[in-house]
Symmetry: C2
Subunit: 245 residues, 2 copies
């Protein structure tokens, strides 16, 4: 029986939260269709994502991308998709306790990602960055000073308590991939803030490097499928939001 | 064998995210220890929550409350705790597809709750409301105009597509309890904004009323265990943030 293909629905042109899903698919080496990056003629492109958001696709409705279609199943929410895929492809602990802790860590990473996003959109996503730049500067200063160090200390402690190799269980899981992507994203958005905060967490830096070196991921990261960060996604580099030199 | 008791760790004095956990325990009619509301002499109170946050409790570390201790298991993140309890007490769909959709909806409710929180703390949680009141007024206006209607339309569509009785599956689940609590909270925080937006979602209003009338929940809601909303939690009533009259 032919394998039913995975179809990812996410905005074209930015890594964003869709990238958390892609990393699992790429590390697992399973084929997938990236609907947002198909052409409109193939039924993809931005129109497919708009159709998802407007509830015009068959299957269970998604509030926002990313969404994953797998046969008749349609699911959304990054953490739900990641766990679903990871459990099917050897990238998630399957026993109950580690599964619960993996979910907990994935949602804590999602909280951190949301706080990064909100540094450039503190007032609302319906306004442009330029309309809330002053507030963003204050929000980013608060984030780098009070929030990011607490998150980094937490994940460093979790890694350390688990032996230092992976965040949960005994094998690399989707949580480690998500941590990798989040660290890379924060390093892009706040180069100086990142360098400073990571001085307190050499174990996390080493984890980032180990994930980056995984053969399939390494090949993916240097391929054209890997979208560069830019100023349209979660992780944006606005120099005025970084720690002053 | 005596049942191992559940222990909830959450800030005393505010319903907040801990209330999502309490509603499941109360609706299921299972006993639990509310550690934050115990006295310091009993090993509870605010000191127990601070110990949790500072990583001084045994078991897997939590970034933030709520956390749940159940025997040797310690888990955090509201959505993870709610699903864990609900699956054990007949308040969650157990088949894979409905389980995935329940998780998806619970996380979408969590996103809405976070956006409500951020209306009064757009710049950062390390500052007082009074230090970001001007920004909060703008953020709340955006939330009520652009975000809340989209969330309400989404949940109303999901409810409708599922037949109108419950949000997912065929029985009341933790997702319906979370929707109830979120609607009650938004109604507290923004009485005028809530009345206006709910005109478009009579089905959700009816769901709220059905959940409120469940015997065990109804008894709980009129008991002293149910904490009133106040200006310390997620849902705060600052009249200047509501829709103008």
């Amino acid at each position: 029986m032919a394998e039913v293909p995975y179809e990812l629905f996410y905005w074209p042109g930015l890594p964003g939260r869709g990238e958390y899903v892609r990393l699992i698919l790429e590390d697992a080496g399973v084929p997938y269709v990236d609907r947002g990056r198909q052409s409109a003629e193939e039924g993809g492109g931005i129109e497919a994502i708009v159709a998802l958001i407007e509830g015009r696709l068959p299957g269970f409705a998604a509030y926002a991308p990313p969404a994953l279609k797998h046969g008749d199943l349609m699911i959304a929410q990054t953490a739900v998709i990641c766990r679903y895929l990871a459990r099917r492809h050897g990238l998630a602990p399957l026993d109950e306790v580690h599964d619960l802790h993996a979910q907990q860590l994935q949602l804590t990473i999602a909280d951190l990602v949301k706080e990064v996003h909100d540094t450039h959109h503190p007032i609302g996503t319906s306004l442009f960055y330029e309309q809330q730049k002053g507030e963003a500067v204050t929000a980013a200063r608060n984030f780098l000073k009070h929030r990011l160090p607490r998150f980094i200390d937490y994940f460093a402690d979790v890694l350390d308590a688990n032996g230092g190799d992976v965040l949960v269980g005994s094998e690399v899981s989707y949580v480690d991939l998500a941590m990798f992507q989040t660290l890379v994203g924060i390093g892009y958005a706040f180069p100086r803030g990142y360098a400073e905060v990571m001085e307190r967490a050499p174990g996390l830096s080493a984890l980032r490097a180990r994930i980056e070196a995984r053969p399939r991921l390494s090949a993916y990261l240097s391929s054209a499928r890997r979208l560069p960060f830019n100023e349209d996604g979660v992780f944006r580099r606005y120099p005025e939001l970084d720690r002053p030199e």
